[in-house]
Amino acid sequence: MAEVKVEPGGNIIDIKHVSKWFGDKQVLDDVSLCIRKGEFVTILGPSGCGKTTLLRILAGFDTASEGEILLEGSDITQTPPHKRPMNTVFQRYALFPHLNVYDNIAFGLKLKKEKDNIIENRVRRALKMVGMTDYEHRDVNSLSGGQQQRVAIARAIVNQPTVLLLDEPLAALDLKMRKDMQMELKEMHKTLGITFIYVTHDQEEALTLSDTIVVMSEGVIQQIGTPTDIYNEPENCFVADFIGESNILNGTMIEDRLVRFMGTEFKCVDEGFGENAPVDVVIRPEDIYIMAHTENAMLQGRVSSCIFKGVHYEMIVQLANGYELMVQDYNAFEPDTEVGLIIKPSDIHVMKKERTCNTFDAVVADENHIDMLGGTFECQPHGLEKGTEIKVEVAFDKIDLTDDKEDGALEGDVRLILYKGNHYHLTIVTDNDDYLYVDTNDVWDDGDMVGINILPEDIRIIHN
């Protein structure tokens, strides 16, 4: 998808069209990414999005099935890990239990046959950098998680790599320790001046640390940008939902600078979508102004819940037409209070809809059935000959989900749930790895196994 465009001289790593399969499961799909020298890049995504695989391919533990990786212009796609000038900080530290702190850190330098006094100097400097001076003779198993991770970082940076790879290095630490370590890592990045590639599922960590964030989902890069870009200008619903809290709503771009959603027309600042174009609208909960009087408000509603979040209150406001909005404010409005809401044009973020209905390839099976998605569905192929290849469309809200997967014509699991103000938009992945998008009012959980049914009259055939 999007690529950050930079002058070719400044890139330390070029990932070009990399795909990776494990058996027939594709975990990376045509990933392209340029990383500039000295950058702090974070690869962010939920578990199973392929971010760790991408890092392992960079480190050399896995090889790309397709595509190539360039390091300072030379191809390293097939280079084994021990010949790459990169070092990795592992999630579970991976310290050698038979060596003490000093020998763990000196491991790489000893392999390079450095002189003893040079090794000693550099190990001491690395220990100082991670704040672990005087620990060199300690047994690594006697250290706390935070200390072990510091040793793991020292063990990597002591080799002066051109790129430091960090695989969720703080995931196993508690919140307070994680915050401290984040600051230290950022400081370390500044001092060392080397490129950091950091993998995490924690969006807050990504926003805090990075120069550039790469958001991934389902093996595909969704967006590349600075933390502010990613937060303020998400490119699609996934990014908007994954980074921070957001209200995501279906809307229609009536004309330039005018959008309609929740049954109301709003002025906005976006243009170039065309007239009456279906769009997704994102409004951050902190961008909605909430007040006690309703006269001059754009929207009126009733508070249905109010939770204290430390600095602000998080409230759910129920509008008269059935929509719900999440609002954050420093003032609390008790449940059942009538409130007015105002949204500034510049706080309405409009995104092109990726799709407006499901489109599937199908084959006519007989007079009353078609085969698609690895199942057979009843419908009226209108005298089309058996074996004809066709395309069909199914509206988001015309797919029925059943609790018992045996009851469906197909089986699948719920992967991604978006709340769109008055309904849920689900992404369902079938056993054949086909994607279905479903609008529903029922509440499902991420990972639920469901049966899928489509009524004959809801399958619309488009002749090929």
Partner: protein, 265 residues
């Protein structure tokens, strides 16, 4: 009734039969060996049995020879068993665990039967029995006891450590020398314990494989114990062996503790 339940729910109640068993079949025989070792034929106290062991070269030499045989056997077992365990611990080769099963399978057959089979094997191929056959037979008998503990410790090595070593610049050879070898040492120590000590005290195997030509320390003890007038001497020999095995075990335990301190076991 309640009182009965209380008695039966106590752990010590359940331990009683085992305690009695241990007293009768372990402690009592040990005490008897100790007592007999310090007695002459008339039942009077003496240390003559021990003096005889040190002064009479036959038993003492056999003892030294047995230790040498045990060392050589253990050496061969490590030489053959370590690479086998290393190969088995590789998941690519051993997806179904069939290979491990094949290596462990001989353990299901009684050691005497296996030894008799080895003897027939030598007979059929026309290779004379003797020292070579003895070493071959012992290595064959005890090899699984070396492979299994090493295989187990290797399976437990965190794959991240191997990747970490590669990441720090180690090629395959260095990964093996710097990570896999030191981390598999506890398995080797257990393997040595399970091969070296039983080898010293075997008796029937050596007789069968050498046509009674070579006798190991176990055979000497057995011969002396069987005859009533040398029974006390046999007891003394047993005691000597027991003390030596005890001492080696203690050493083994120490080093094992040190290793497990390293977080392996």
């Amino acid at each position: 009734m309640n009182k009965l339940i209380k008695i039966f729910s106590k752990r010590s109640t359940w331990a009683t039969p085992y305690a009695i068993f241990l007293m009768l079949f372990v402690v009592l025989p040990l005490v008897l060996i100790g007592v007999y070792a310090f007695m002459d034929n008339d039942g009077a106290f003496t240390v003559a049995n021990f003096v005889k062991f040190v002064e009479q070269p036959e038993a003492f030499n056999t003892f030294i020879y047995s230790v040498a045989v045990a060392i050589v056997t253990t050496f061969f077992c490590i030489l053959l068993g370590y690479p086998a365990a290393y190969i088995l611990s590789n998941k690519e080769f051993n997806r179904s665990k069939t290979m491990v099963l094949l290596f462990i399978l001989p353990m299901w057959v009684n050691v005497l039967i296996r030894t008799l089979a080895t003897v027939s094997l030598f007979d059929i191929t026309g290779i004379p029995l003797g020292e070579g056959a003895l070493l071959f037979g012992l290595t064959y008998d005890f090899l699984p006891f070396m492979i299994y503990p090493i295989y187990n410790t290797m399976m437990k090595i965190d794959k991240n450590l191997i990747e970490a070593a590669q990441d720090l610049g180690a090629n395959q050879m260095r990964v093996f020398l710097k990570v896999i070898l030191p981390l598999s040492m506890p398995g080797v120590v257990s393997g040595i314990m399970m091969v070296f000590l039983p080898t010293i005290s075997t008796f029937a195997i050596s007789e069968l494989l050498t046509m009674n030509d070579i006798r190991l320390f176990g055979s000497i003890i057995q011969e002396n114990i069987m005859l009533s007038d040398t029974m006390n001497y046999g007891a003394a020999l047993s005691l000597v062996m027991l003390l030596i095995i005890g001492a080696t075990s203690a050493l083994g335990n120490d080093s094992e503790e040190e290793m497990s301190h390293g977080g392996i076991i």
